[in-house]
Structures are given as C-alpha cells and as structure tokens.
Symmetry: D3
Subunit: 218 residues, 6 copies
C-alpha cells in the first residue's frame, strides 16, 4: 500500500509517548472530534477528547419508551451530542418521542435543524406552518415518514386510543427546542404580561391562568 | 495590468454577439446573481437576471415610517431580496420597524437569520428567550444596538409615549418571520382546536376568542 | 448602464395573469423548495415545484421490510429526496435497511453525509474505519444507536439467527452510497485488471473471479 | 408542557453547583456562544464565556457621530464582536460611518462580508467595482439602501455641503476592512517600491510621496 | 390544499420529448453537476448538463507557458469552471501564472477564495497584507509552497533574471480577481477623479497619468 | 486614511504589553488562525497561535520527489495544515505524488475534499467511479489537469516507462485519505474475515493472503 515518509510519523510517535497511556491516534481527531463534555474551554459545539472508543458513538437512551403521564401526555428523549459525544461536529442526532393516547407534542421550533420522523407505532396527526401562515398537515401511521422544515413551528398529536412513538432525526448535533407555550408562558424571568395580553389579545387574568398551568412542576 | 489570452475571451465575445444588445458582462454573474424575481424556473433563492443596473442594489421602501394604526401598533417594512434583487445569494437584508406608543412587535422567530437592530428613535423593551427558557431582555434607546440570535423567539415593545423606530439587519436575503400568535391562531387551514387547548391549557371558547381577534382583516 | 429590457418583463406579466386564483403563496418557496423531479433544468439539488401539498413531505416506502434473498443478504430502501420531494434543500433523509440472518451491508461510504442508525429489531456488528486505519466497532441491539462519521468506510453485519432492521438517518437529502466491492469490481466500464491486481496484491484470475461473482444480476 | 426525565437534568444541576455563583444556564451556550474576548485559548472566532447577561448583546458605541476632522473626512465606528461579544458565532454586525462635507470612505474591501447600508442623513455617491472592472454606482440619500457584494472594492463619497451618516450591516461578526490606499502604501513592513511603481506605472518619487501622506499619524 | 396544475407541466413534458435519446444517468448528477455553460437559465454557479464525459473534468490550457510580453510582465491562465465544466459545485480550481524576469502579478484580491501556490520554476517574492496592515512576505523558490488567505490583498514579483512560473490552487470554482490598479484606474465607467485624488492624496494630473498607462490596450 | 477612535485601540495596546515580546497583531487572528499544532486544547481543526510569521504559510516538503521503491510504486507527500500551520481554517492544501514506472496510487477516497491534479511530468491513467458505478477515466499527460469529485473512489496509474509526478490540490486543510485496500485489509483491529469474504465473495484463505501482503512493514 502507500508508504509514508518516516519523518512525518515522528511527531505522532512523540506525541504518543508524551500522552502516556492515551490509546487513541491523534490523527483520528481529523475524522471525528469526540466531544469533551466537561472541558473548561467552551467553544461553538465542544472541544475534542484526546482518547475515545466505540461507546462514544453509541447510546441506549432511546431504546425504551419513557413515561408519558404528564400534562402534555408526551415525552421527548434525546440522543444528541450530550448523550453521544461522538456526534460532535458531525451534524446529526436522533430523538425518540412517546405519546400517550391523546398526547400532544405542542407547537415548537428547532432553531438549528430540519426534522424527519419515522413512526415506530401508532398514528399521529402532524403539521407545520409556513411563514406565509399556511398549515401543511397529514395523518401518518406506523412506518410512514414526515418532514418538518428547518425553524418552522410544528406539532404532533396522538388522536388514537393506543400509544404512539416516533424516531426523529435532525441535521444538527444539538437542534434545540422552543416549545412555544412554555417559551412564552413559563420562562424565567417571565415575559411581561403586557406583551402577552397584546400579542394574544387576551386579558391579564387569562395570561396568569396559562402561566400557572404551564409552570414547571416543583 | 494582467493580460488575458485572447482565446479565453472568445466565448464571451461570441456570447455577446448572440445576446445582441445585452450590455451586462456575463462574467459579472459570478460576483453577483441579481434575482430574476419573475423567472418561471424556481430554485433555492432565485435564478439570476442577465441584465441589471445599480437600481437593483438599492431601494427607498424603508425611507419613511409606515402606518402603525393596527391591532399591534407596529409595522414591519422589509428591504429584502423581493425589494432589492441584487441581494440574491449575498446573505443579508434590512427591515424598518415602526412602533406607535404602546406598540408591540409580538413574539416571533426568523427561521433563517440572526437579527441585529439599531434604534432610530424612541425607546424599546426588547428580549429573546433561550431554548433553556431563559428570558434575556433590556430597555434600549436611540442609537443603541441589540442582537436576537438565530431562530430564537423574541419581541420588541414600545412602553414610551412617543413613536419608536428601528433598522433591523439580518444575515439572510429573506429571513422569514413566524409571528407566534398569528402562526398558531390565524393560519389557513386552522390549527385544530384540540392542539391549542392542550398546548395552552385553555378552553375551546378561549381558543376561538383568540382566533377571532387575530383573524386577518378583510 | 444596463437597463431592463421590456420583452424580459412580458413573461412575468403574463404569468401573473395566468396564475390568477392560484392558492399557493410563492413566499412559501423560501421556507421550502419542493423538488420538481422532472424539471428539464438541472441544478445542484433540484429546482422547486410551484404547487405542492403535504404528500410531498411524506412517504411509506420504508414502512415494510424489503426482500433480503440476495447475495449479500441485505436490502437498503431509501426515503431520500427522490421519494420525498419536500426534502429538497433541507439537508436530511432516511433509509431502512433489512438484514437476513448472516446478512451483510458490505463496506461502503456515503460521500456526502454522516449516518446515525437506530436498531428496529435484531442485533448487528457495526464498525467504521478511520483514515488512520483504526477500526471502531461494536455490537448493538434493538433500540441502540450508532454513528458513522461523514465519508468513512463502514459496514453492518447480522451475526444472529433472526432478521435485523435499522432506520438510518443522514444529514443530506441524497447522501449517495459507494459500496466498495461493487464500486471496484462491478462498475461500467470496468476498473482495469492491473489496477486491481496491484491494489489488492492478487492475480488476474482472482480479480476476474470476484468480478464475475459481483456482476449485476441480469 | 413537555417533561424531561430527571436523570438528564442531573449533570446540569451538578454543574450549576460546581460553578458556584455563575448565573447563566450552560445549556444556553448552545443557542449562543458569547465571546470570551480575553481567553488565553484562541480559536476561529472566540471561545465562549460561561456567564453572560443582556449587556453582552447590546452596545451604545455607534449612538453618536464620531469626529471626522481627519485626512479622509470620515470615520468608521464598529459595533462588531469586539464590542458586542454576544455576536460571536452569529454571523452579523453593524458599523456607523460619519462623513464630513467632502468626506470619503476610500476604496476598500471586506474580505469576509457583504455590506448593506441605510443612509441616516445626508447624501452619498456610492459604488462598487466588479471583477470584470465594471463600476456600479449611484447617488443615494436619506432613508435609501445600497448593497456592496462580498469582497468587492467599493467606496462612499459625500459630495454635499452637509455631514452624512450611515448604518452599515455585515453578514460577519468581524468583517475586516482593507482600505486600499493604506493597505498598499502604509503597511508595515512596507510593500517594496518596485512592486508599487510597476503596479501603478508611476515613479519611485511618486510612491514615496503617497506613502508619506498616508503614513499613520504619530 | 395545493395541487399540481396541468398547464404548468406542459412545458416540461414538451422539453422531455425534445431531449429524447439523452443517455446519461441522472443519478450521477448528484455526485457531480457538470456546468452547462451555455444554459439560458442563470443560477449561482451553473445549471448542470444532462450528458457529460471524462473530458469535462480535464483541460490542457495550463500545460504551456503563456506570453509575458505585456506591461506587467506576467500572465494568468485559468483552469476554472469556464474551462473545466466538471468543476461546477465542487469548490476548487487551478491557475498557471508565468512571469518574465522582473515580471509582477500586481496587488490583487480573490473575493471568493484562499490561494495556495507551488513554484514550478524560478524564484518569487510573495506577500499578503492583513487587515491590520501587516505585510507577511517571503522569497520562495522552485518546489516551495505559499498561502494567500481568503480575500486579502497579495502580490508576486519575479526579481530574478530568469522566467518563473507557478501553479495556483483556489478553493472556489471561479475565485474571481480584482487587480487593484486596474480595478481603480481602468474600470468602466471610471471611478471619479475626486475619489482617487483624495484616496491616494495625489493630484488629478497624476490620476489621469495612471489611468492612461493602465487603460486596456485597443 | 480612515481614522479609529483611540479608545478602541486601547485593549490591543494593553494586550500587546501583556503579551510581552509577541510580535503579531492579535487583530490578525481574524484574517488567519495559524494552527497551534501542539495546543493541549483540541478543537475541530486547530486552535490559533498568538504569534506567527511568514514561514507558517510556507513549506518545502513537496519540493523534491520522494522514494517510490515500495509495494505500490508510489508515494504521497502532503503539504497540509500539519506542515503549513497557516492553512488552518483556510480550506485548502496541496500534495505531491510520485510514481515509479508501473506505480499505482490505489483506489482511495478523500472524505473531506474534492481533488484537482496538475501533471508535473510523465503520463497517468486516472479515473473516478460515481455512486451509480460508472467509471470516468482518461489518460492525461504533462501539463494536463483532472478532477476527482468530493468523496468518490479514484485512482492514478503510471502505465509508462518513466516516472510520473503530480501536484494535487484539495479544498480542505486536511482532506484525509482512505486507501481502500489498506482500509479494509490492513486496519487495526482487523475487519472480521466473515465481513470480507462475504463482501468480496472470496474465501478466508484469500482474505488472509491479501491481509498478509498489505500488512504494514515492520
């Protein structure tokens, strides 16, 4: 096969000795940059770990359904760079979303990604709204696929009598989520009431009621 | 100066003859791609016009304040690629936003851009909410600058007694806007009531009331 | 100075009249650019259709397992932009891969994407090789996730006695696949024998044997 | 609203305790990466600060006109990432440029950005030159907008009797500026005279004269 | 719901008939997008040809030195997308530059690319100037390599007694060149004299002299 | 030329004093980010050095032919970011490849770059294979150019009686190489035999023979 001039290898050998028991080849950092999630240095994304192994590219956090006995009747479990450090710089991640019967993943956006979903089980009413305020929606069932374009408000609702579950893929290692109701009515500090009353054309009392119902559980 | 081999110029000369009286140098399309806004061919962004002039890079649509006597007491006027075709492929645009006293630019997102604003006159309470549901807000006055990070929900409110106005710059030729109240309560077809009642924990009657108040004016 | 030529404007005026009552908002093309798969104009990706609906963002082509009674004992079914035109410009797609017991998805690359997989059923030995010739491999089972970094050679092997299946997500609307054995031994025209004999340090007879076994089935 | 499994929150809680008095949510670093301008680690752009607040997204440095009693009769004041650390990784910035009557912002390039300007007051002759050596120029007045495409040489000249001022927006957090006369005739070390004499077809004496007039003021 | 309208499909059907016997595999357009240099549709870059062959990825235009008996004593010959249509969308190109003894490639920028050069023969003084007005320069000889960062002003000068030649590589299919002297003193229409006199602090007479010497040869 | 307000310069002056004898202007880090190859912090690419000079943008490692008396009869010598630290973040690099008569650069991919080559001497049979398994090949000789699209398998073979050499340019500072035979048959740990026998439809004995012949020389 191709041969490499020995002097080019020397720095790597030297580095290997210097790093002592580090197993990984530093050259590999150019193919991947496994997140050093606890680095004191913060950058856009994460700095890279020097040593890593196959576990850094794998997880079982989305193997099982999560509990959906909450207000919305749904649960998002993410397999993003925070769980799969090997995803750092690679621009992709997964989530699993479980829905109780009647469960809703409320209108939300992902500021940094398009989402494509595959229905593992059950049936969902899904939709996104364009910037021209056109709703594009459809009912999809097990094995079907649907796309939510980057940054647009979208939702999924389980109108069936049985649980539903999806695998969602994103073209970002950490797509971020802004669940609209919680973003506006449950953030800290609170959005001023006079912004919300004017925006939604409702009274202060109604704003306070929504805020109390959406407040994070203690 | 640098000289070019004649054979390299020949195709351009030939093209010039073929196009007849078209004045523009096709080489220039590589520096810019002035939007052909009415092309029958649709691509990501716009195809390029063959002929253009300095007017394609200019506009006066944001020179004057717009009327703010509407429900929200604010008006956005855009100088994006639809008004300045020369912006096509260049990744930047401006808007002017005017606010009546008490006026609000309601919570909204730009799916494709970060926004940076400069206050032309007046004083505004501005804020954005992170995906960790933290509100970052500030009151800024004439001559001050504020940034709304890409994709995050944000708003501006004129709490003063005089009009306010800003110039907003975006790193997109067409950043898009999703005004949250209209996106959820005034789109076509409508978001199902059972999505909105569950999301905001309110009754159908309240949903209908918001929908009626936010419905587009006939 | 370059000037608008009137004849260039005529088609746009005509088009405007012709469109008349068309419901779709051309503004929406800026949120999405649904692929016009049969356009005579070819661009990087695809031109956009003028009219589209929710079906353009959905497919059921990966709902069911595909037949795996082939030489490799595996089958890839893609839900990419060619099947889901709404994916155009959005940078993501899915595939389903089915494996018979003993089935192999042979070593291959995706020139344009990182891949992240979720095991629907069964158990697979998976691995990728870095540019430093380090194999990173692991056995993963139902519900687990694994990542194959952009452009690197990787494979999946079903060493179990039951079928296996995965959902694979890519950060490209059309990631492309180069299955190494077919790329080198079954392309048209053929890679010269003296390239393959020297590359793999085998005889012409062995090269010919591999070529005959990997030749596309008539 | 959506609920999150408690174990996922634990690392953040732990991190919060460990960081002691740090106010900001580390999750927020994924929405923004506020520049740590004094970090010892240098990267493309800047590393991120752990704690930040609304002031990091704001500045008043361009609120007032700057002094224009200099050789060129103009002054650029930047509101880029060095003044607004929250701009880091967000790809946008502003400048204010003031012009005395007769003032000139001499021909220059921004290696990393397109520029779009809004005239605050006065009137300017503006222009850019394409790589085909075509000048695209126009006189614009208060409230008008003009675009200077990425990387191309451009200038603004106040031919009026009153001061002028603009707000310039860039699609880069730090667009950089190469003012052509200073770049060529006032850099350190100096560009060799025989490069400048041949380039501009002038004598050494003329080169020296330009150099002396453009030399930075002590 | 938006639906396909038949009249819009007609032109495509017609065109499909016209193309008829086109042999090339459309799947391949996803690996490459060979420029259709004569397409009536203009886009950012070029639309793709339907049929292509190996010649589209090759050229011999930079095989031989070009004539350097011109004012600057140098000649640039480009092997960019205009000569190698296969380069379209691939983000790279080459040029060959020949220098007579004493020849100069005058200070210039490439708005869209970094440049890396390899010296084929001879010796050159090369340099670039940073936005902080720092000159980074070096004399390099046969076999040596030098880098000119994206967008920055740079030059090469042959101070030797023998010809020199380089191969220059760019990370753009069409990097564009703004040769500073010609950009400012030989564009059409001309940059106003009062811009140039103030910028370079010289008299109108000197501006006119430079303009006459740099004017394109008839 | 343009003047800057003194307070803006103060932080830089202060930083200069603090850094002591460091010569480079920290502002320059925004034009370039010269790789600090030995930094303890690892990021995507490399952190930047604070001080640098013209040597960081130059190398002579590809000035001379390298020895080609190895199994493949070819040698790749890279002038990438590991040899030219100034290339960091600039997206381009060069390699020199030498071929003995009969020498082969075996089928390989660059996961992160398109390659364009210029033939310094000799004649080569070159080719790439598309994802549709179409071989695009050509014999090119001294002075000719050929392109290998991003990520696709390609090779070069010297069928002549004299040595050949090329300069290869990549649009990546570190394109990475996966030489297919070594990737599959000489990695560590080894790819399981049952993957290779099924993939290439050969016996274990043949797999072992290839592995032994391609094993790295001790």
């Amino acid at each position: 096969m191709m041969m490499w001039r020995v002097p080019e290898l020397l720095p790597f050998l030297a580095l290997g000795l210097f790093l002592g028991h580090v197993a990984a080849d530093p050259d590999m950092l150019q193919d991947v940059c496994v997140a050093d999630l606890s680095s004191a240095v913060k950058v856009n994304g994460f700095p890279c770990k020097v040593a890593f192994n196959a576990s850094d590219f794998s997880t079982d956090v989305i193997a099982k359904p999560g509990p959906t006995n909450n207000t919305m009747g749904s649960l998002v479990t993410a397999a993003n760079v925070l769980k799969v450090p090997g995803l750092n710089t690679l621009g992709v991640s997964l989530s699993r979303i479980d829905y109780a019967p009647g469960g809703l993943n409320p209108p939300h956006t992902h500021p940094r990604a398009t989402e494509i979903v595959f229905i593992l089980e059950g049936e969902l009413e899904v939709g996104f709204i364009s910037t021209a305020n056109v709703l594009v929606s459809k009912t999809i069932k097990q094995g079907e696929v649907f796309v939510f374009p980057r940054g647009l408000v979208h939702f999924q609702k389980n109108n069936g009598n049985v649980p539903a579950a999806i695998i969602a893929a994103f073209n970002s290692q950490l797509p971020g989520t802004q669940s609209i109701p919680a973003t506006l009515f449950a953030c800290t500090p609170a959005v001023p009431d006079n912004v919300l009353t004017k925006a939604f054309q409702i009274g202060t009392k109604e704003v306070e009621k929504i805020k109390s119902r959406l407040a994070p559980k203690k």
